[in-house]
Symmetry: C2
Subunit: 325 residues, 2 copies
């Protein structure tokens, strides 16, 4: 059934892929994005599509959210502070504003306008340093160690309450690390970070942490397919699903793969030596994806295949002059 | 060891009892309270004590928080929106401001001033409609159904992140329903609510819900003793403890107890008939208090004894002309 869908953060890596897949399925799509990290080039292919509407604006501006909500039947709320790296000297309210306050405002406008369905991009970071691995959705250990993870858990809690109080149906997706061809901004993922550093200095690569951090990677296209798959099938008032693959890749392995893909040799690695890459980094995790498997979805690529795909497509994108990082 | 302690919400029912017990133990106590629900009469007995300092002000005002934080070694953060009852037509941002934003600001000032220890009053409402009863702290089912519960869980998540990032030691207490002699304001607890209604009309009592709601009650004095007991003994970076007793009392039973204590007869009960008393009310819960028992603390009163004590002391307080509700 075709409907009108709002995608917040729809000019981002995942959001623009979602917009594309929704348009392909015949839906009308409104995107709100302030282009602080999303890029206009990501939605450029849809700008002439009459079913697509782009609204540049801030989710903390109620007028923007109300304008984007007009006539909408469902919201995919992907906008967030994408900078998961945190510096202890940084202000502590960035995630609070961009995650908690923006999500509350969105929920409040949904309530006001009677919009009853919401999908939300949460994160594996809500689990913190889970003693259980792979981590199931039912993990009792929700003790985030980053402001990013803490504020995403805050959003989940508010969604849970709004869902119950105002009869909304909501889907919360706890993403593993998402990579893809559009994630090319410097430092945004370990992959683009390594590529940029090696372009600058092809003989030496400084690696944050001890290199033994091991995380689960998923390609953005597959992540979006999974979201659409689950939204069609999971029909509880509140549905919480991990999205990831069944294994993990170490940072050291990613470094070796990038070096090889770039055709480099004899690159010297150095390590900052801490357990995590930055304050609040969860050094090792694998999500239990049994619940989403029960609904008939599983990642096509292993974590390493996802990383290899992302390396290839970032390098390819850099070779395309029209599509600069 | 004597130290300087900040108690937010220290003019409230629990906060003023905590201030009293801290002063008895030889600590210096600063209270911040905006008296929106706390009462000056609750801290009046300490105002001439040179170890006590009262600061009337808003926790959303950074200058107030900074002033209250001066020289402090530990914070007991009890201030919150005490109105757990919610009306679907009310604004949805009251708990967001008074719980989430106030707690973030407090944590940020603690970080800035290097204050490293925090105890926080959370709530059984973070669990939502838990399928497991009694509910252990490790319950995976953290799906709050009220904005009060959701924002308290948000505060817990932020405390978890700040604790990890900035090396704080924190204690989170998930309270059951707290009652006591000071909780006399109309509608604040089911007990004071019933007493006020029966004073107005001693022949009829309207009961929110179906009367079968069954919750665990704990007297404020015991709650404070438990907090101090746990803070001395639990020394993880992040300590989360349920505080309650081992059983529960139904609303219908409380109504009968109030009627009897007031010496009334032939009171007709009517019920609004919903499962919970108000939107977001968790109709039935008992907390698993095994973790706090391991530390050597358990409630002296059963839930029904706590209710009986509260009824008696509220009625007694009403008979004292100096201490009006």
């Amino acid at each position: 059934m075709s409907e009108h869908v709002l995608v917040t953060g729809g000019a981002g890596c995942i959001g623009s892929e979602l917009a594309a897949q929704l348009l392909e399925r015949g839906h009308r799509v409104t995107v709100i994005d302030d282009l602080s990290s999303g890029k206009l080039e990501h939605v450029e292919p849809f700008l002439e599509n009459p079913s697509f509407h782009f609204l540049r604006g801030d989710l903390l501006d109620r007028a923007v959210v109300k304008a984007g909500m007009a006539g909408v039947g469902m919201v995919y709320h992907l906008a967030a502070n994408p900078d998961v790296k945190f510096d202890l000297t940084s202000p502590t309210d960035k995630d609070l504003k961009q995650n908690v306050l923006a999500t509350h405002l969105l929920l409040d406008v949904m309530k006001e306008q009677g919009v009853k369905r919401l999908a939300f991009s949460s994160t594996s970071a809500v689990y913190g340093l889970s003693p259980v691995q792979p981590i199931p959705e039912s993990a009792s250990f929700l003790r985030p160690i980053s402001l990013y993870g803490a504020t995403k858990l805050s959003c989940e809690a508010m969604i849970s309450a709004f869902s119950h109080l105002f009869g909304m149906r909501c889907w919360i997706f706890r993403f593993s690390n998402i990579v893809g061809k559009k994630v090319r901004a410097r430092g945004r993922t370990v992959i683009s970070d390594f590529i940029h550093r090696l372009l600058e200095n092809p003989r030496h690569l400084r690696i944050l942490g001890d290199g033994r951090q091991a995380k689960s990677y998923l390609v953005a296209d597959e992540c979006v397919e999974a979201m659409l798959h689950v939204v069609e099938r999971a029909q509880e008032p509140l549905n919480i699903h991990n999205l990831g693959c069944r294994d993990a890749t170490t940072v050291r392995r990613i470094a070796a793969m990038v070096v090889e893909a770039m055709g480099l040799r004899d690159v010297e690695f150095s390590f900052t030596g801490t357990e995590g890459g930055w304050p609040g980094d969860v050094p090792r995790f694998i999500l239990d994806v049994g619940e989403v498997a029960k609904l008939g979805w599983r990642a096509r690529r292993t974590s390493e295949q996802a990383v290899a795909f992302a390396i290839e497509s970032v390098l390819e994108g850099m070779r395309e002059p029209a599509c600069k990082p």
